[in-house]
């Protein structure tokens, strides 16, 4: 699945998908659930919470 296809199915722009991938944007809970649903995985498999400053 391309970034554009994911963006279209979730209802965001491709630039937002890129920003999420690059950790420059934390999506809303609704968008996060939509991404996980579209990808067919659980939410925890898609998104993890790591406090800033402790990320590798």
């Amino acid at each position: 699945m391309t970034q554009q296809e994911l963006a279209d199915k979730v209802g965001v722009t491709r630039q937002t998908v890129i920003a999420i991938e690059q950790d420059r944007y934390s999506p809303s809970l609704e968008t996060a659930f939509k991404v996980a649903t579209v990808l067919g995985v659980r939410l925890e498999e898609c998104f993890q919470y790591e406090p800033r400053g402790k990320r590798s």
Partner: protein, 142 residues
């Protein structure tokens, strides 16, 4: 990886270019001020914005605005508001100071034009601050 600009980003860049192209010469290439010059400046910014935004809309297929766009827009408006409020307080303070010292002899309608330029300049600076904040936020983390 190079990231293409979203529709909203392109629109912001166009808006900033239009503002600088019209307001820059108006405020910095100072000639004899007049009501006609003010009207011409307003007409120029309206026409230029319509042209640029229309071109961008015509060449952009996906014009969706999502939650990230709205959040960045809100941040821009917040910066713009605080910029405008700060300039207004500064401007009112300066006006009060100069008025108290008697620096404003009444000279008919030219006083009105000077005040118009001052307050309009505040709006322009605030709008540029708002647009610039949004452009920078798109490139950085939100």
């Amino acid at each position: 990886m190079a990231t293409s600009l979203s529709y909203r980003e392109k629109s912001l860049y166009a808006s900033l270019v239009a503002e600088l192209a019209v307001y820059g010469p108006y405020f910095f290439l100072h000639r004899q001020n007049s009501v006609n010059r003010v009207a011409g400046m307003i007409l120029a910014i309206i026409v230029l914005q319509i042209i640029l935004q229309s071109i961008i809309a015509a060449f952009t297929r996906n014009r969706i605005t999502d939650e990230r766009d709205r959040l960045i827009e809100l941040r821009g408006y917040r910066v713009g508001y605080f910029t405008l409020a700060s300039l207004m307080i500064l401007g009112l303070g300066m006006l009060w100071f100069h008025a108290a010292l008697g620096h404003f002899p009444i000279e008919g309608r030219w006083v009105g034009l000077h005040f118009l330029n001052v307050f309009f300049g505040m709006l322009v600076i605030s709008d540029i601050a708002k647009t610039t904040t949004q452009i920078v936020t798109y490139r950085r983390a939100l």
